[in-house]
């Protein structure tokens, strides 16, 4: 089995037997891979502290294209994002991003997606505290777009008609804004003018705080995005980290 070296992000890691770990990796050249890190839980393991969730670095894998489980020989950490651990909002958003990559990304390598996830983790770790919520929304919408499921907001998603100014209906099943006529025929989430502009701003990749933005707006936008992902990408599988991020349950209990 050849030893290959590739930039990688640890999306998930869990114990396997008494001394080993299994890691789920997003790799730049080989797509999402599972690998066993033998002896990783031993006190004097050569992996040391490198196999932390959301770490970025270089994976050395004994790689067989047909194998479901590769063998991880080493992982050289480039960035470990300790700042993500100091804020549950950042950590939850980063976990949701990792989960989307893990569950919804195509199995074949996707260079742009890999680079995007790495950049988003960097951004979530460093964005000012007041912009964590919008950065998470913008990042996850961008991930949805990168996966090929961008919502249509420039015209009616059903008939292509131009949209009126102001409030607009957003249909999750249809995948975007609806014109006034289609809104009457479909079940939609009505976005008032400021919320519509906020969504357009988030879809454009901006995490600047929209005018009048409150935690209530953030919660509504999280709900909308989570419903969109569940409908278009989840294929019936529960997305636990996304649900955790969406409910922001830690805010209510802290």
């Amino acid at each position: 089995m050849p030893l290959v070296t590739t930039p990688a992000i640890i999306l998930h890691a869990f114990k396997y037997s008494d001394t080993s770990k299994i890691v789920r990796l997003a790799t730049r050249e080989y797509g999402v891979q599972s690998a066993i890190a033998k002896g990783a839980s031993r006190p004097k393991s050569r992996f040391g502290a490198s196999l932390q969730v959301l770490s970025q670095g270089t994976a050395h894998l004994y790689f067989r294209p047909t194998a479901e489980l590769q063998t991880l020989s080493a992982f050289d950490v480039a960035e470990q994002h300790p700042a993500l651990a100091h804020d549950l909002g950042r950590y939850a958003a980063a976990s949701a991003l990792a989960e989307l990559m893990l569950r919804c990304a195509p199995s074949e390598p996707h260079l742009a997606l890999f680079d995007f996830v790495g950049a988003q983790l960097d951004h979530l770790a460093t964005v000012p505290p007041q912009r964590v919520a919008t950065a998470a929304l913008a990042g996850l919408w961008a991930m949805v777009t990168a996966l090929g499921f961008a919502p249509t907001v420039s015209a009616c998603v059903r008939d292509g008609r131009a949209l009126d100014e102001g409030a607009v209906g957003f249909s999750v099943p249809d995948g975007g804004f609806l014109c006034a006529r289609c809104t009457r025929e479909r079940t939609t989430t009505v976005l008032e003018g400021p919320d519509r502009r906020a969504l357009e701003q988030l879809l454009a990749g901006s995490d600047e705080l929209p005018a009048g933005w409150t935690s209530r707006h953030a919660a509504a936008h999280r709900r909308l995005l989570a419903r969109f992902i569940e409908h278009h990408l989840a294929e019936g599988h529960p997305l636990k980290a996304l649900a955790f991020w969406e409910t922001a349950a830690w805010n209510g209990t802290s």
Partner: protein, 198 residues
């Protein structure tokens, strides 16, 4: 299925035991006297009937409160918070800690669907809020990202109660060679350096 298959199948469900080892253990048990098998069966049954989580700290014990919580010689004002009950045994092995414990029952892990509400954080808050007997809470969660985020969250929960919250130090293992330590551990050790006393 035969009794042999039944035992092998049950043993194979244990962590670190594969089918081969389970079969080997089963044949080992077959060679033991009947009294030894009965003692083993009774001991395992007792785990389910006599052992329960301590209502104070969450440690596994066949008494409630557990031996540590009930020990009047221990400092009840010092609470060490750990992820799992098995971590208590590790700290007790040090022989240096004379406070009491609180078991969270895991760590925050969104990817596994484990949030703060799934951990024993509310009982910890109640313990700290109750009468002000707790002076200090030591957060001894694992030195992983999940352990850190859990510690951060618990600190936030305890902050309004005015209790001192500390985090166990992270760094080089005693007896370890600096040369062989990984960069992250050395970075943590440098960040947590302390002034040497005269």
């Amino acid at each position: 299925m035969s009794a042999i298959d039944d035992v092998a199948a049950e043993l194979a469900r244990l962590p670190g035991i594969g089918k081969k080892t389970a079969t080997r253990l089963t044949y080992f048990l077959l060679k033991q006297p009947r009294s030894a098998l009965e003692r083993l069966a009774e001991a395992i049954t007792a785990l389910g009937t006599r052992v329960a989580a301590c209502s104070v700290c969450g440690n596994w014990s066949d008494a409630d409160p557990c031996g540590i919580c009930a020990d009047a010689r221990r400092d009840a004002g010092l609470v060490c918070v750990v992820e799992e009950a098995s971590d208590i045994a590790a700290i007790e092995r040090s022989g240096e800690y004379r406070g009491v414990y609180h078991v969270l029952g895991g760590h925050v892990s969104p990817l596994d669907g484990i949030g703060p509400e799934d951990l024993r954080i509310d009982p910890l808050r109640a313990r700290v809020a109750n009468g002000g007997a707790v002076r200090e809470v030591i957060l001894a969660t694992n030195a992983s990202l999940e352990g850190e985020v859990t510690a951060t969250y618990v600190r936030g929960v305890l902050e309004p109660h005015g209790v001192k919250v500390s985090r166990i130090a992270l760094g080089l293992p005693v007896g370890g060679d600096l040369e062989y330590a990984d960069g992250l551990t050395i970075a943590r050790a440098l960040a947590a350096r302390r002034e040497m006393g005269s």
